[in-house]
Amino acid sequence: MEWLIAICIGAMTASGVYLTLRARTFPVVLGLTLLAYAVNVFLFAMGRFVVGQPAIIDDNALGYADPLPQALVLTAIVIAFGMTAFLIVLALKARGEMGNDHVDGLHRDDDEEKNTR
């Protein structure tokens, strides 16, 4: 099971890194979102995997999952959302100001017109 999740994290990271290195803003935002997923699951995995034992105090519980990584990841998820919102709006702003959606904001390509029509 651990191998499966580790490979999942690896796949999300690989796709995230590849997209983050692209030249247009939208794929970069997608890439960073993927990276955020990967990081969240990675952090969560640091508490090791426990099945069916949520960290809710109960006299009949046999054991508990590690609550600390969960608390960290919970806020990380929300923060990642805040970051994504900020980034995607930054991308919109860049397009509005520069007239294109290149990450460097400089290259005025001809294909821009084609794509919006």
Binding site: M1, E2, L4, I5, A6, C8, I9, G10, A11, M12, T13, A14, S15, G16, V17, T20, L21, R22, A23, R24, F26, P27, V28, L30, T33, L34, Y37, N40, F42, F44, R48, F49, Q53, P54, A55, I56, I57, D58, P67, L68, Q70, A71, V73, L74, T75, I77, V78, I79, F81, G82, T84, A85, I88, V89, R95, G96, V103, D104, T116, R117
Partner: protein
């Protein structure tokens, strides 16, 4: 609490608060800023004076609070004789400068900005002189560098002001870094940063092998701040500041901060041969260079700038002698220099103000136009030259005496009195020039304005300062003696030596030196024209600024070159470098490790459903990247990834995470869909394929590296630190959902920080989109027109029905959060989704009419509630954000408990709702400014 127990921090902090007040007051009336500034300075002075009584009784007042005791940082203030003297100079001369500046500044200059800067600077200076803790002192030291930068560059439109300010900041800032290093070492040697301990450990410090390093580092700070050779060149360029600033910074404050440190650390550092050579050598060189150059400056303020450098050198040289008597002379000259130099700067400002120029080749014969000002200038200038019956004479005599006694020793030291006399000759000559070349010497030559006396109140500060010069010069025992005595005691930290302030000591060697200086100085002045010509031909072109600029430009160029190697102005390259750096750092760590890559922990068995989901997640991740050019498709597949991630959380006992991830996923995808509407629908094909291969390789290596990293952790056992939380959640946090208790109680302050970030992101989105409009596409990717019906009736009906239900769920999730999966974050997201769906289905205008809530206020109230909960705990003497809980009995519902943390969670809830709705609704609103699609179609 007696206010006299906390008056020292108030004295320092009030000017900072006053700065904001002055800036605010200026909105109502220009002069209100000046009145406010004056009132603030008076208030500080009034708070300081009651403690002065104890100081005169010989006591050292210390007010101290623990700040970060573990690193030796205390919020600690100290008032002894030395601190009192400097605080009085700063406040009294500050008050006079404020009065003067009120008349000096023209209608074009912003009074609010000026007085706000001035007060901040005053507070920083007071902080330096009143600090007991050396680390705290450094903080204020850096603040003076920053605030003086603002003051010098006050006329921002002038290039010379900006460059002068930058130079001052670069030099004094670099010196400040050196001083920080020195102070850290000093604290390391002594074992404490408190001045009381440091001053008592002189012997320990001087015998320590690090002594020389400490001394050099601290002296670098002192010399840069006090414009000592070879760092003196920034001071003349700082003259681009308005004259009240120059009068303040270069008489009593900024440049005296370095001198203050010499005096402050005198008992700890002085008395060694290194001290004598370094401090004395720099002082002597500065004294000579300053005095010589001052004579050749045709600009009034240029003359005063170099004379200031020269006098600072004189004081430094005195400290460099290292004897208690020399310290007495140094302190005495600090007082005298502050009074006559401040008045001379003000006179220069008056002349500039009333004639329109400061060039002494044009200014002549001003006596008949402004006799009152001329009289003041003559007295102050004579004090600067060291003419008997004025204060400058007394301290200069003491200085000569010390120079003579220093030469008794052996070898080349006979040079010291000779060089000192030469400097004094030049000092007489330039002082004479300030009088003769400006107020006599024929008629003015084409002045921009017809000169006349300035307003009455502009002269009053000068009147007062000149009166002090006279009073101290004639009756030293009745004026300056008491404060001088306590200041010397504070400097030396022992009983002061015997010294005499009498005017007449008989025909001693120092008196002869004075006479020689006066006679030869006059002689030198009479042959000035020939000297000017000679200077013009030879030394005139030497300017340290050229070297400074060359160095600075070289540094900037090198930095530029280095960064160009990594960053060719392309984000793609920069990101690639980050990935490479992370891989190299991680790989290196594993390479060095002796451990096997994987551990031997027993792994969980895999089940078919998990395998299926895992494979689906991997495929979806890869497809997101593979199909990224079709943006809508890629986004939808990304949603699949997010949903499976929430399933991972479900599977592995993290219901809170699953709920959060699920709701965040919905909001994120809606947000991205909204944004995608305004972005190109496809990504153009990239031409450079080597880059794609490189990125692919980087991505693969990263993926494998992360997989291995994860496995090397997961295959090992560990000891969690969470037992504490599991054990205490119920008895101390009052909740059974440990994750939520950690969020709102144990680690509440982290959560507070996180919701602040979220609030900032929401506001950032709002600010960026404000007033922006983007063209909305009229057709989709396949060339089909968008549907004309904006809001489908089916969806409208459904969402309106669902709204109360969803909100009810949000409330339920919120309330149970402390004990069962849920809480503020999740409830906030659910509520936000409920609201956003209304905007989507019914349109923004319709929804806003029915929900007239300003989401900014929701965010603000949320933050206030969260912070307020913490403050309430503090108010009843518990640490910030301590929670409590109690059990309540409600009819029907039964018994349940309420934790005060629920208020904190409410704050979290409101911030999440507010930020999310702001972000999404602002995005949706962009289409209002975009062309109407239906209209276009018709």
């Amino acid at each position: 609490m007696n206010w006299l127990d906390i008056n020292l921090p108030l004295v320092v902090l009030i000017p900072f608060a006053g700065a904001a007040l002055a800036a605010w007051a200026a909105r109502f009336h220009r002069v209100a800023a000046a009145w406010t500034a004056g009132g603030v300075a008076l208030l500080s002075l009034a708070l300081l004076l009651p403690s002065a009584i104890d100081t005169f009784a010989g006591e050292t007042l210390i007010q101290s609070w623990a700040w970060m005791p573990s690193i030796g940082l205390w919020f600690a203030f100290r008032l002894d004789g030395l601190a009192l003297l400097f605080a009085l100079l700063i406040l009294v001369i500050g008050l006079l400068v404020i009065l003067y500046a009120r008349y000096y500044l023209s209608a074009k200059d912003s009074m609010g900005r000026f007085f706000a800067y001035l007060l901040m600077f005053m507070g920083s200076m007071l902080g330096i002189v009143l600090s007991e803790n050396l680390l705290q002192l450094i903080v204020f030291w850096e603040l003076t560098s920053l605030t003086s930068f603002l003051l010098i560059s006050y006329w921002q439109h002038r290039k010379d002001a900006r460059e002068g300010a930058r130079m001052a900041l670069a030099i004094t800032g670099a010196g400040g870094l050196a001083m920080l290093g020195g102070v850290l070492l000093l604290g390391h040697v002594v074992g404490s940063y408190q001045l009381t301990d440091v001053l008592a450990s002189g012997e320990l410090i001087q015998q320590h092998p690090l002594y020389t390093v400490i001394l050099v580092l601290i002296l670098l700070g002192v010399f840069t701040k006090s414009a000592q050779f070879p760092f003196h060149f920034w001071l003349p360029h700082a003259m681009a500041a308005p004259t009240p600033v120059s009068a303040y910074l270069h008489s009593a404050t900024m440049v005296k901060a370095g001198i203050f440190m010499l005096a402050r650390l005198f008992p700890a550092l002085s008395g060694t041969i290194e001290w004598n050579l370094l401090v004395g050598g720099a002082g002597l060189a500065t004294l000579l260079i300053g005095a010589y150059t001052a004579l050749f400056k045709h600009d009034l303020k240029g003359l005063l700038a170099y004379s200031t450098i020269s006098h600072l050198g004189l004081i430094t040289l005195l400290f460099g002698f290292g004897t208690p008597l020399a310290a007495v002379a140094a302190i005495f000259h600090i007082i005298n220099h502050a009074t006559f130099k401040a008045s001379l700067f003000m006179v220069a400002g008056i002349i500039d103000h009333e004639t329109g120029t400061r060039d002494m080749r044009k200014l002549n014969g001003l006596l008949k136009y402004m006799p009152h000002t001329a009289l003041l200038a003559m007295i102050a200038s004579a004090a600067m030259a060291g003419v008997p019956l004025l204060n400058g004479f007394l301290s200069k005599e003491m200085f000569f005496e010390q120079a003579v006694s220093a030469s008794d020793a052996q070898g080349w030291t006979w040079l010291v009195p000779v060089l000192v006399t030469i400097a004094a000759i030049f000092s007489v000559a330039y002082s004479l020039r300030f009088i003769h070349d400006v107020f006599f010497n024929g008629e003015p030559i084409d002045l921009p304005k017809t000169p006349h006396e300035p307003p009455r109140f502009m002269k009053i500060p000068v009147d007062l300062l000149v009166l002090i010069c006279l009073a101290v010069g004639m009756l030293p025992m009745f004026t300056v003696a008491p404060i001088l005595a306590v200041a010397v005691a504070g400097t030396l930290q022992t009983t002061p030596p015997e010294y005499s302030l009498a005017l007449w000591h008989g025909f001693t060697l120092p008196l002869w030196m004075s006479i020689i200086a006066l006679v030869l100085g006059v002689a030198l002045y009479t042959v000035r024209q020939r000297l000017f010509d000679w200077h013009e031909r030879t030394l005139h072109h030497w300017d340290a600024r050229v070297i400074f600029n060359a160095l600075l430009n070289g540094l900037i160029k090198t930095a530029h070159k280095v960064s160009r190697r990594f960053d060719q102005g392309s984000l793609q390259n920069a990101s690639a470098w980050i990935v490479v750096a992370a891989l190299v750092a991680g790989g290196w760590g594993f390479w060095l490790s002796q451990q096997p890559l994987l551990g031997d922990r027993v792994l969980l068995d895999i089940d078919p459903v998990s395998l299926l989901m895992g494979v689906l997640l991997i495929v979806a991740s890869v497809l997101t990247a593979l199909w990224h050019r079709q943006r809508l498709v890629s986004l939808i597949i990304l949603g699949v990834v997010g949903l499976i991630v929430s399933l991972i959380f479900v599977k592995f006992s993290a219901p809170d995470l699953a709920l959060t991830q699920l709701s965040v996923e919905v909001v994120t995808i809606v947000l991205m869909l909204l944004a995608l509407y305004y972005l190109p629908q496809t990504t153009p094909k990239e031409s450079a394929s080597p880059r794609q291969w490189r990125d692919l390789a980087l991505a693969l290596v990263s993926g494998i590296a992360v997989t291995l990293l994860t496995m090397s952790v997961l295959s090992r056992d560990f000891v969690p630190i969470s037992d504490f939380f599991l054990a205490k959640a119920l008895p101390e946090g009052g909740g059974t959902n440990v994750v939520n208790v950690i969020l709102v109680d144990f680690r509440g302050i982290d959560t507070l920080g996180e919701i602040v970030v979220l609030a900032l992101a929401g506001l950032g989105v709002y600010a960026m989109l404000k007033g922006m409009s983007l063209p909305a596409p009229s057709h989709d990717i396949n060339g089909l027109a968008w549907h004309t019906d904006k809001h489908s009736p089916i969806m409208q009906t459904l969402t309106r029905l669902l709204l109360p239900l969803t909100l009810l769920i949000a409330v339920y999730i919120f309330l149970r959060g402390h004990n069962l999966p849920g809480g503020g974050f999740i409830a906030g997201l659910i509520a936000a989704i409920a609201l956003i769906v209304q905007y989507l289905a019914n349109g923004i205008v319709w929804t806003r009419e029915r929900l007239p809530v300003d989401m900014h206020k929701v965010v603000g109230v949320g933050l206030l509630i969260a912070t307020g909960t913490g403050l309430v705990a503090m108010g009843i003497n518990f640490p910030f954000l301590t929670s409590t809980f109690t059990h309540l009995h409600w009819p029907i519902v039964g018994e349940f408990e309420v934790a005060s943390a629920i208020a904190f969670d409410l704050g979290v809830f409101l911030v999440v709702v507010g930020s999310t709705v702001i972000a999404l609704v602002r995005l949706g609103e962009l289409s209002h400014s975009a062309p109407n699609i239906t209209a276009e179609k018709q």
